[in-house]
Symmetry: C2
Subunit: 320 residues, 2 copies
């Protein structure tokens, strides 16, 4: 029921996941509001948490909402993962309150893959779950991000960096310096088979120099939205440049397929959504404007993370 294009695009994506990939999807929502759901099972939930509703209060009050019921379905073993394009805060709160936290994790974090041309994405976490963090949480994020990068992108020994404003150890705010100290302890990297590479900067996010970037949820969210805005502006300007005259328009047609492929690489629909790491279950949070394709990709990612037992790996890494 969640997302700007729900339930139409959501159900369409779910059906494609079942029909094209054989993924057994369970829908959760108001049966009477759904389009043709084909052979998919539907768990009835009478309430819908609005996109702009206050997350905590909504989840506590609306016990028969699709988000709460979806999280319960995972908790109760009726489903292996939850996927939502709805209210991000409410999806996080539902997952946290109904599935519970992994032992050793203080706060779940949102891990968002940032596209890197010609390479595996850079995983940014926390991308917005915790607007203020304690330094020790970033070590937990580093552990979880390492597991995620390996399970999701097949990176054998992920390079983990701390987002700061200079590469040297002494750079950054007092908070970041404290994080640097803690992250420089060898235990977590050895335990997760990853490599601690120290501070990285905003300009490194879209490069092949780092695989996992840890930061507090405020900085992470600002970084993510700044990237989204820059992409949108630049691609918009590219279209303006192509629209200069008849010759440039013709050149634009010639370049069409190459440009489409480039724009596709940067489109959020391609990435399969962000993931809430640290709860006892797979929880994929797709962006609010998710199309059927975005939903299909999100469901595929959720399914893959179940197949590889990512949550078990996170649980082992959290206490390792």
């Amino acid at each position: 029921m969640g997302g700007d294009r729900a339930p139409g695009e959501i159900v369409a994506g779910a059906r494609r996941a079942a029909e094209e990939y054989g993924i057994p999807v369970v829908l959760v929502g108001r049966p009477e509001d759904l389009p043709d759901t084909g052979d998919l099972e539907v768990i009835a939930a009478s309430e819908v948490i609005a996109m702009d509703a206050e997350p905590g209060a909504s989840v506590r009050r609306m016990k028969d909402s699709s988000l709460v019921r979806a999280a319960e379905a995972v908790r109760d073993g009726r489903a292996s993962a939850m996927v939502s394009a709805g209210n991000t805060g409410a999806a996080m709160a539902s997952a946290l309150l109904r599935m519970g936290r992994i032992k050793g994790i203080s706060r779940p974090a949102i891990a968002t893959p940032i596209p890197v041309p010609g390479s595996t994405p850079t995983t940014l976490l926390d991308a917005g779950a915790n607007s203020e963090c304690r330094p020790e949480w970033l070590v937990e994020f580093a552990r979880m991000g390492s597991i995620y990068a390996r399970d999701r992108f097949g990176i054998e020994s992920p390079r983990v960096g701390l987002l700061s404003i200079g590469e040297e150890a002494g750079k950054g705010s007092p908070f970041v310096k404290e994080c640097f100290e803690l992250l420089s302890g060898p235990d977590w990297a050895a335990a997760t088979g990853s490599e601690w590479i120290g501070n990285v900067e905003g300009r490194d996010v879209m490069t092949t120099d780092v695989d996992v970037i840890v930061t507090d949820g405020f900085t992470g969210n600002v970084t993510l939205k700044t990237l989204e805005g820059a992409m949108k502006t630049l691609i918009g300007q590219l279209l303006v440049a192509i629209d200069t005259d008849d010759d440039t328009r013709a050149a634009g047609v010639t370049l069409g397929p190459a440009l489409d492929s480039m724009v596709g690489d940067f489109h959020p629909d391609s990435t399969g959504g962000a993931m809430l790491l640290g709860v006892k279950g797979v929880c994929v949070i797709s962006h609010g404007s998710s199309s059927a394709t975005a939903m299909l990709n999100a469901i595929k990612v959720a399914s893959e993370m179940v197949q590889v037992s990512m949550v078990d790996h996170l649980a082992a890494a959290a206490v390792g």
Copy 2:
């Protein structure tokens, strides 16, 4: 003497400023290291603060460095502004220690113009001078940013936003919420003739929705470098797309001028450099890789800001 391409490109840019625009430039540095300086006056300074030197200690110790002497020239009235492509931290420290702070300003801030296609740039401050801030400093940044946006870009009533992770008042870290409260007081906006528009997000930076964005120097610097990285990656991918085959390469040639103009809009050489606001003098900090063109633009901006008496306006706004 400062900058990756100094002194050659710096002197070349300074000479162009004098010859093409009649701006009376004074060079500061080691006379024996300089190329032909034409008719420009040279203030001798025997020391050079390296690009990677520790700023505070260097400025205290190297009293005959070009940066310290340049700031003294402004303090003593031998120059009206200083421009540097050297060590940013040392340029800031020199300006702060030799020129002094404007009364009512707790901490100077770096104001960086972010290009917005088809419009005036968005001014981001603090872009890196203060990695940790107190909430009341952001009100000072808002005052200074308003004056700067008006004096530099002619924006009559600049719209000032606070960088956060959601538009609603309650969004953000505890620090940002405190800033929001203080900024919501009417005095500073009325005194500076600007408009407080509340929270903005990373995706708004390159749009026409806001003229001045205030944030702490850590978040500002991450935002700035994230933008730079995104630009570089996208423009690189555009060149890859053009290089697909003979047809796309031909299309690239046709699009050449339009693309060059687009890339030029986003190039840091065009913006004329960042400015340290809050010291008693004009201080332009150009990026380390500055070319002669970048230096020319930085000098032009410095000259304009002297002509319009920006520092006097800042001083009036700081206590108004």
